[in-house]
Symmetry: C2
């Protein structure tokens, strides 16, 4: 890789990371490309050198988030016990409960916003929830629980709903307490 390509990559990554952050805090439509440029320490207007359109940048943000989700799920596979894996998944939202109470779940708010579209990006964003759901279903299946798919939906819906309520009421403790109840529920299934 040439030096210039490396710099490109660095700036591209900074742009995507900054855009992802801003989108989380302000929503897709609330973010301007000028803000993204500033956050990534790139000259304003220069964003178009790396992304043809704003939607292009957005697509990169979604793809990066999907990558993060895959990495997260993969990291949970270190646990031998499927119930421990599921509890670790839920625990992720406890770890970021302050951030969630202020700006909502980074995955949930993005899914909600892009779910209204009809240009392909909605399908892309659906993977954010779809991947987690499929992974959780596989874990419940290993636990030999009845209706593993519905259990997976119950767990992720619980987490996402808890995040939404914690955000609406701006109450981090609500999320933490609710997730602990979900973790107890997982234990009760073993």
């Amino acid at each position: 890789m040439t030096d210039s390509a490396k710099r490109d990559r660095g700036k591209r990554e900074r742009l995507v990371a900054g855009a992802g952050d801003l989108v989380h805090r302000q929503g897709v439509l609330g973010v301007t490309l000028a803000q993204v440029a500033e956050a990534a320490h790139v000259p304003p207007g220069n964003v178009y050198y790396y992304f043809k359109t704003k939607d292009d940048l957005l697509r990169a943000v979604v793809e990066a988030r999907i990558g993060e989700v895959r990495a997260m799920l993969h990291s949970f596979d270190a646990h031998a016990d499927p119930s421990a894996r599921l509890k670790a998944l839920a625990g992720r939202w406890v770890e970021m409960h302050d951030l969630v109470a202020r700006y909502g779940c980074p995955l949930g708010t993005l899914s909600e916003e892009l779910g209204r579209r009809d240009d392909g990006l909605d399908r892309e964003a659906a993977q954010l929830m779809g991947l987690i759901l499929d992974w959780a279903e596989a874990q419940f299946r290993r636990m030999n629980t009845a209706d593993p798919r519905e259990c997976a939906v119950g767990l992720l819906a619980g987490v996402q709903g808890g995040a939404l309520l914690a955000h609406a009421l701006r109450d981090p403790a609500l999320l933490a307490d609710h997730v602990r109840r979900l973790q107890e529920w997982i234990d009760s299934l073993v």
Copy 2:
């Protein structure tokens, strides 16, 4: 009331209703005042005669939604049994599962979007979830369940999370199935 005041009221109501609808489908920032005017059959630009700013109109939308929530909860009080009331609450989301799968829960998406703000409208919007939560808690308390507040959070989080997943995956059946599981859970507490 004078005739002109009546007309005002009619237009005002049409503007608020149209704006509420558009906000649900496109999000707060995705709606333009021109669209609102068109939806309400009011001359474009004329919106400012009824509302000083866009935020003013938005506040009216939130207040109207709060009124709808109050009316909905009040209507459930017709059931003598608190568990029947709670199941009727959950049933509301089954009734509108197609709409929710397409555009998200009208209350949930609004709460998410306004929860990011910090100008008072976030507090206003918090009532959308707060009112339901308090009402549900009172019903669980009458059922003598342990931890009525946490049960209320569990129910509303379940519904909202189910709505979010149904929206993300654009799958109305997911919401209907999940809500039925929540209703069975309510029955199991009696």
